[in-house]
Symmetry: C2
Subunit: 391 residues, 2 copies
């Protein structure tokens, strides 16, 4: 079925249980689907844009209220929607980082944090991870000290991911923020957890919380949120000082780093439509984690399989090592590594990168009890059918 | 009807003829609607992202082909999709403008160009418009000379809008680009005309063409295109040089100013689904302009009304002065200025800012012959009913 001349309609979510690491939290809710249809047109939310003419002041649809609700929900003071988390990183880096500045990231930082620092002319420097794949406050302190020695000044910004994208491990953000604040370094918490698990920005010690709409808030892409404290809002959300030298024009309350307005239609209304559901779903985080553990347990029952993420699991994203199980099969299989994704697909499961049988990731977020059971049984079934021992 | 708990479904395009200045070119095509439903989920286009892992390499859906087609269609060498035209301005300004650099814009420049320059630390300086509200090559040359005298160096960038947002006048971009190139100044053409009328980047002398998806390519927001020449592509689309100092990680072909990838779902597939229709519709530009003129003629038949845009019209966006017609009515009317939008609404027309009766804008793009006739007759009817002379 086509949805346009040369575009095949996507039916992944209708036909399969999808355990793709980056897609699980971004599946639209039914309300977001309806919003996408209703507000698909480009500038559709601007029908009732009045003075001051800015996205976050629009009352109908209730975008202004949504901004206030977002900030409150994250326990921060001010929030703006942005075209993806990366654009939130960019806004903060562009504001705080000068050319040549050292900026602290981590050995588990998402690549978009590097892009934001690089675009601002900064030098990203990583806090090492420990042997358990954690970023610790001690390691942060050591890195900050080393950077200050080298650059003779404190870094203007520190990025830390609440949960990293590689292992899905939960890091001691509050501890790291406490260290950073001793050096007066503002802390940006990259929270791919916003919309997935409860996030309390103040409790984390965050000066900035950046979340992704399309990765974890059941919203269309590109969308995200940048929330901050009263202390920093005036700087990162500073309004334009530009003035036309000929016309004398000024541009009111337009915010420089937001390029004025950000999400004008389906993206912002999609976020809004999903928001009540997202707010509700983070309350069930313990169930999600238990589901994740159930699938990990099934995988670990396959002899030779190791979990590389924290165990027991504290998140739904898991990094698994099947070099001594599924990859041993792949060595002999006529389909090589593709046998695994192929066998899973036959069982109605997708999202494992075709060909991967060594070290790979999956995400069980949002699956039902029954789907979780099926996924676990499918892994075990594929293993058994291919001669692996179940222990 | 609600599309979510507190979000009223939008029915503007279903219930009214919409002549809003910024919404006309961004109404979705039916194919884009279908694409929005099919690719609403966050990272939905990433199902088949392989190596190198970057949006514009994805073959299914045919995003790679779309990028090539976009560049060819604009007669440029390379194109990227971006989250709105403003993010295209930002990418170019961030690349070419250093702190303190003078940057040439115009007295008719869109505010987002000022934001992009300001975010990059540049100083926006306007080429004056002439008495006919045009930006001329001579005025550009004078401004460039003045700036060079003041700053002892040539500006690193010049922004010129193919058609300005205030009057909808078509400017001599080719002439201005020729002047700028004599000083080796790269020219960014802000083309809110992309998707509305034919745009030939090379013929315009553009080093960069930036267009809006949600304003003029029948695409969901935020979306847009940044196209450039072979000469500039390597610089504005430079790939990351970042390297983890601890991990040694590098980030392949990720492009810094794009923050890696840009439009992941409904926005890019919406653009793609509309693209064949958009390519077709720009061929009918003469009809669109004739339609625009027909409505202007109707308005000019109302005694006291003036058109502030170029006359005869060469675009579908028009600035009209009704201070001596509709505003004279408003002075006496119990609904004051709101009578006009109210009367139009009764006749099934929306998009004129409620309360406006002095100087205002409208856009007839995309209306049918019959709708155009109705809009013209409606203006005349409202005027006649309120005692204005029809001449």
């Amino acid at each position: 079925m086509k949805c346009a001349v040369d575009i095949e309609a996507r039916d992944v979510e209708e036909m399969y249980i999808n355990i793709d690491p980056i897609q699980a939290g971004g599946r639209l809710t039914a309300d977001a689907m309806k919003a996408a249809i209703s507000f698909g047109d480009g500038y559709s939310v601007c029908d009732n844009c009045r003075n001051p003419p800015r996205l976050d002041y629009i009352k109908n649809p209730p975008i202004a209220q949504f901004h206030a609700d977002l900030a409150g929900w994250l326990n921060m003071d001010t929030a703006r929607v942005v075209p993806g988390a990366r654009r939130g990183f960019q806004a903060v880096a562009s504001t705080y980082v000068e050319k040549g500045d050292p900026v602290i990231v981590t050995a588990l930082a998402h690549y978009t944090e590097f892009m934001a620092v690089e675009a601002a002319g900064g030098i990203p420097l990583e806090i090492p991870k420990d042997t358990a794949n954690h970023i610790t406050p001690d390691a942060a302190a050591e890195k900050i000290e080393a950077v200050i020695r080298e650059f003779s000044r404190a870094p203007p910004l520190l990025f830390i991911d609440h949960v990293d994208y590689q292992f899905g491990n939960v890091h001691d953000v509050a501890g790291i923020a406490k260290v950073a604040h001793q050096y007066d370094i503002p802390v940006l918490v990259g929270a791919y957890t916003v919309g997935i698990m409860p996030v309390d920005g103040k409790a984390l010690g965050a000066d900035f919380v950046v979340g992704s709409g399309h990765k974890s808030m059941a919203a269309p892409a590109p969308s995200g949120v940048l929330a901050t404290t009263a202390e920093h809002a005036g700087r990162v959300f500073r309004t334009t000082q530009a003035k036309g030298d000929v016309t004398g024009r000024t541009f009111g309350l337009k915010e420089v780093e937001m390029m004025g307005c950000t999400l004008m239609g389906v993206t912002v209304v999609g976020m809004m439509a999903s928001f009540p559901h997202v707010r509700e779903r983070v309350q069930h985080w313990e169930t999600e984690v238990a589901h994740s553990q159930a699938v990990v347990d099934a995988l670990l029952s396959i002899e030779g399989t190791k979990v590389l993420s924290d165990s027991p699991r504290q998140h739904t994203l898991t990094r698994i090592d099947t070099r001594e199980s599924f990859d041993a099969v792949a060595q002999q299989h006529k389909k090589r590594g593709f046998f695994l994704s192929g066998e899973l697909k036959k069982r109605g499961i997708t999202g494992v990168i075709p060909g991967s049988t060594r070290v790979w990731k999956f995400n069980t977020f949002g699956l039902t009890e029954k789907q979780i059971r099926h996924v676990g049984e499918a892994f075990v079934g594929v293993a058994r059918d291919n001669g692996l021992n179940i222990i």
